[in-house]
Amino acid sequence: MIIESIDWAPLWLTLRLATVTTLILLIIGTPFAWWLSRTTCRFKTAIEAVVALPLVLPPTVLGFYLLVGLGPHGPVGSVWHNLGGDALVFTFTGLVIGSTIYSLPFIVQPLQNTFESLGQDLLEAAATLRASPLNRFFTVVVPLARPGFLTAITLAFAHTVGEFGVVLMIGGNIPGKTKVVSIAILDHVESLEYQEAHLLSAGLLLFAFVVLFIVYTLNRRYKLSLT
């Protein structure tokens, strides 16, 4: 059977990478998006442009700078090394850092849009009802921003699953360590193993469709429940 001959390690690695990356993005992206949605800082536009860079840059450009920056002689890599950290490039940690930066706009932009559309009115009402700022965020903003969160999580996760250029530059192609599905597919094609490439590709395609379908259904239901 072809299924048995397939090496599943890249798939698990991909899912692990996407999960870890999405979690980190949620933790840093949510407060960041909130700040962007409320700030009147004059550097706001510049910061927004920087966040959006991964959308327009060729992934290899980003990957190249990450490789240089995180490498043992790079500004980040050397500090990290002096602090006693292991190598960042060609490791899972390096992949997570790269993916986090690469997928940042996919979390920040939908969340920022959602937060901006919420406005101040309900938050003011909550404030006059004794809710502290953090309390307001978790009891008013988070529930009302649920569709935005779902969209952001889906996009960040799916985008990490599908990335190629950054991963290849910074992670290389080390089986079990940095070889993710998208690279495995390329490997199979280069070795003319079309059936294996087919199976992995079809699997990703199906995965992407199912995830998006579920998210759209949930968001639709949520919007209906609010009317």
Partner: protein, 357 residues
């Protein structure tokens, strides 16, 4: 207990500067044209405008004091705020909206029963509904209940009826009228509808272009000729009276006030009931002798306190009737013919009396 405040706020093209003291119970109307800074003043009281400066004391509690560097955030101020739009949380049903503030107030500080408020505002049948499925009037009733349930030291209502149609207004006004007797809590009620104000308020703050131009007893502020209220088309005075009897033959009800008796169309009120009536300046005429053979039933002995210009052809005359005051709008020509001066003893004929509550 009183509420003392001095509030200043400067924004591009607008300056708010108000200092006032209002009683710790009853309804104080904050009245002014749109754009006069009413909402801004309220938002400063609530702490929603961080850039405001000044001093706010509610009873002994200091909410803001620039000299002592005190600025409580809105959630630290014991206030209830009813916005023009109800601002209910769309993801929570009515019960959970009501509980939002209630459960954030320590049980020891709750002075108002949950079920009681639900009953006062007639929310029993909608308690499980989601806000978007409520009518405008129902939403505003929920918003009022939600604010009350925080047992606030001060209730702020920012034109709670302005966004509603006439039917919904009529539905809510009776609830608002009953509130002051049911709670001993000061209420600041913003409106630019004089009728609402005369129905609900006891005292008044008058705001114009960001400046407080008058404050005090509602009856005084409404009859002062140097203030814009007495010059409005629907200007008039407010008089508190008591039902003393009914005339079954002519279907009239007789009311007593400091200046005499008023006859109005029969009311279904018991003897002794308090009523508030409004006498519009345009409905009052002045005679030097007691008019006889006139169709007007309500004639009171009065003395002229002062005269004030109104328009090129008209004057306003402030009259003392008993301990109450009535304003008459008459032509300048009439005033000259009657030779009206302050101190003149006259008779005020009141063509119609409007019942406000």
């Amino acid at each position: 207990m009183t509420i003392r405040a001095r509030i200043q706020l400067v924004r591009s093209g607008f300056k708010l500067d108000a200092e006032f003291e209002i009683p710790g119970k009853g309804v104080t109307a904050l009245f002014g044209q749109s754009g006069s800074g009413k909402s801004t003043l309220l938002r400063c009281l609530a702490g929603l405008e961080r850039s405001s400066s000044g001093v706010i004391f509610v009873g002994d509690a200091c909410w803001q004091d620039d000299t002592g560097n005190v600025f409580l955030s809105p959630h630290q101020r014991s206030l209830g705020y009813v916005f023009q739009d109800a601002r209910l949380f769309p993801h929570l049903d009515v019960r959970r909206n009501l509980e939002f503030g209630w459960k954030r107030v320590p049980p020891m500080q709750r002075r108002i029963e949950f079920d009681q408020v639900v009953q006062w505002l007639g929310l029993e049948n909608i308690i499980q509904r989601m806000p978007p499925r409520l009518s405008g009037g129902e939403q505003q009733r929920v918003a009022i209940a939600r604010a009350l349930l925080t047992s606030p030291q001060l209730l702020i209502m920012d034109e709670p009826l302005a966004a509603l149609d006439a039917t919904a207004k009529a539905e809510i006004l009776p609830y608002l009228e009953r509130l002051p007797e049911q709670l001993s809590m000061p209420v600041i009620y913003v409106s630019h509808a004089l009728e609402e104000v005369t129905r609900l308020a006891d005292s008044m703050l008058l705001l114009k272009d960001g400046k407080l131009i008058a404050s005090g007893n509602l009856k005084d502020v409404m009859t002062r000729l140097d203030l814009p209220l007495s010059h409005m088309d629907e200007a008039g005075s407010v008089i508190d009276a008591t039902v003393i009897g009914h005339d079954d033959e002519f279907q009239l009800t007789c009311l007593k006030f400091s200046g005499g008796q008023i006859s109005v169309s029969r009311l279904s009120l018991n003897q002794g009931s308090p009523v508030r009536v409004r006498i519009l300046a345009r409905d009052v005429s002045i005679a030097l002798g007691r008019p006889e053979q006139t169709s007007i039933l309500n004639v009171f002995a009065a003395s002229v306190i002062e005269l004030g210009a109104h328009s090129p052809s008209q004057l306003l005359v402030r009259l003392a009737v008993g301990t109450d005051q009535v304003v008459a709008r008459i032509t300048r020509k009439s005033a000259a013919l009657l030779d009206l001066k302050s101190g003149c003893q006259v008779f005020a004929q009141v063509k119609s009396v409007a019942l406000v509550s």
